[in-house]
Subunit: 358 residues, 2 copies
């Protein structure tokens, strides 16, 4: 499978899952409309946020995780993929409240959207707290929809139980990862190990390993297969996170759908920043420490941080780390004996996820 075919496959999954998400959400909108306009609006805002989103990489990983083991066409794969998209909405919506981010996926975040609605319509109480409150509820709704879909699939008891177990473990790890992230931002010191652990929990587990394994469980994979998938997925997910950190500083705001340098403003000490701190002169370190977590960082500051990250060799170190991780992921696929169609997608996914620019 070349890059073109990979992209066509990704698009096919995207179209399918988005169509189904829309159908499902229209039903929930109709149900909420019978209750009250405020409930209907909440579901509409969740719909807009969920459909606005990205590449549907998680949905594709569910699909091809399944294809590694089974070639029978079934609607169930798409239902599981829908769950993952709702889990993604849930995590992003709450994450954005926590990080106080205004933009996501090229539009307003949910809490910002509701804060703006408040300014237009209401006068009582604080628009920002109102926005946060509604976004907490919107994220909760997304999580509950994910569980409803998965819980009501007609599947063998063992398979459904394994899927729900896997999904909720993935969610739990992502919640742990996010809470360690919040803690790391208030702590005086963070180690490289902690940063890698957070990336593993927040990203590798739920961007790659969870979706792939859920597809594989559905396709009938055994425990050895799941274990091998994890040896592929975790390093790849970590490499994806490293690329995320690089793009967060060196990427293009428009392509990313969020401002460059927001990691810095939020005080996220990424692997990239940690490595730069380690290699920096004391003057450079003072500058960088002043910048991290500073909400007033300017475009010129970001440019200076970029230079510093290049000069200290931190960027090269990240790229080297990424190369090692990719190598590890590739190795895990050797001799797996899974279905060709699935494996070809997983191989191509490596380059796509690590070389991406958005």
């Amino acid at each position: 499978m070349g890059r073109d075919e990979f992209l066509r496959n990704l698009d096919a999954v995207k179209e399918n899952v988005e169509g189904q998400l829309d159908d499902f959400l229209q039903q929930k909108i109709a149900e909420a409309a019978r209750i009250a306009p405020g409930a209907e609006e909440l579901v509409r805002i969740l719909r807009e946020f969920t459909l606005r989103g990205g590449k549907r990489l998680r949905a594709a990983l569910v699909h091809y995780g399944y294809r590694c083991f089974c070639d029978r066409e079934t609607e169930t794969v798409c239902r599981v993929a829908m769950c993952l998209e709702f889990v993604q909405s849930f995590l992003l919506i709450h994450d954005d409240v926590i990080d106080e981010d205004d933009t996501r996926r090229g539009g307003w975040t949910v809490h910002r959207h509701y804060a703006d609605l408040h300014r237009e319509r209401y006068r009582r109480r604080d628009p920002n707290h109102f926005g946060e409150s509604m976004a907490i509820l919107c994220g909760d709704l997304a999580l509950s929809l994910a569980n409803e879909i998965l819980g009501t699939l007609y599947l063998e008891t063992k398979v459904r139980s394994a899927l729900l177990n896997r999904m909720n473990r993935m969610i739990r790890l992502a919640i742990y990862g996010e809470s360690l992230d919040v803690l790391s931002e208030v702590a005086e010191k963070v180690s490289e190990e902690e940063i890698l652990l957070i990336g593993m929990l927040k990203t590798a587990s739920y961007t790659v390993a969870g979706p792939l394994q859920m597809g594989a469980i559905l396709g009938g994979a055994g425990s050895e297969d799941l274990e091998r998938l994890s040896r592929y997925a975790i390093p790849l997910g970590n490499a994806f996170q490293v690329q995320d950190d690089i793009l967060g500083l060196f990427g293009d705001a428009e392509r990313l759908g969020k401002p460059v340098g927001s990691d810095i403003r939020e005080g996220k000490r990424t692997f990239l920043i940690l490595r730069a701190l380690e290699k920096a002169s004391s003057e450079q370190r003072d500058f960088l420490e002043r910048m991290v977590g500073n909400r007033d960082v300017t475009e010129a500051d970001v440019e200076a941080i970029r230079r510093l990250v290049v000069e200290t060799g931190a960027l090269d170190a990240c790229r080297e780390l990424s190369r090692r991780l990719v190598e590890e992921a590739r190795k895990a696929l050797e001799g797996c004996g899974w279905r060709e169609e699935g494996v070809a997608f997983l191989e191509e996914a490596i380059g796509f996820m690590v070389e991406r620019e958005s």
Copy 2:
């Protein structure tokens, strides 16, 4: 079943469900401890909050909803009851963030607890935002645990599917209710119908109807039974809410585990307050409007509001509404033909829920 036997039964359920909650949470604490101290602390705080709580009325309703239809002893009933307790923790933790409440169940709310930890330990960033962030995640964790328990029960596919559907619909309605509540606090005007709808979604559905019906589904109830249960549960839940509003103004802070008058400070326009506004003189109305949503309401103000609520006849109107609702609930049980043990509990529950003082 007299009141004493009812209370003994309630206590037996409480002891059982709390023991199981503790065992389950100890396992999750051990799992989180293998990941990181911050993750372990998050689960410990959820454990402390969940075990601290109240009467376990929802757990008992699951139990006796089941007993209306089946007398076979099974561990599953208790697992379902545990789910409901986690759903309760999830809703309360997020609700407290939204309402900016400091106390709950006679202790600190989760966000307040974390804000205090921040003040002790950290210097970076804002303690309150940190507290809210961690509480959002703690609530998310509770919801994910509820779904994990329910999703991995060994049950017939049809029964499990019906349970997961019922639980997630209940959660969805509670989320809608909470969002309408948030909207009602910022809106200029709220009608009695809206207030009753919010109470129905936030309280009646998930305090009484959801737990009872989940127990009943497990016991093999048919759709007509579920429908009759709902005719019992919705008015009873509404009467419970009316009593909540009365206690919120006239109750005892210590017994309630939260300060009296917090509804007023938060700007909640309860049925009680709405009725008082309607019957008030223009001078009284101005005073009450100034008080609702005012964070600086004093103990003397609360006392004045109490007098106003009595003088306008709003308190009597609430009691009358409660009596009608209770009547409706009682009627729904007539000629139901369910098992005696279950029905006796449901009958006794009416008085308990409506006459309670905490």
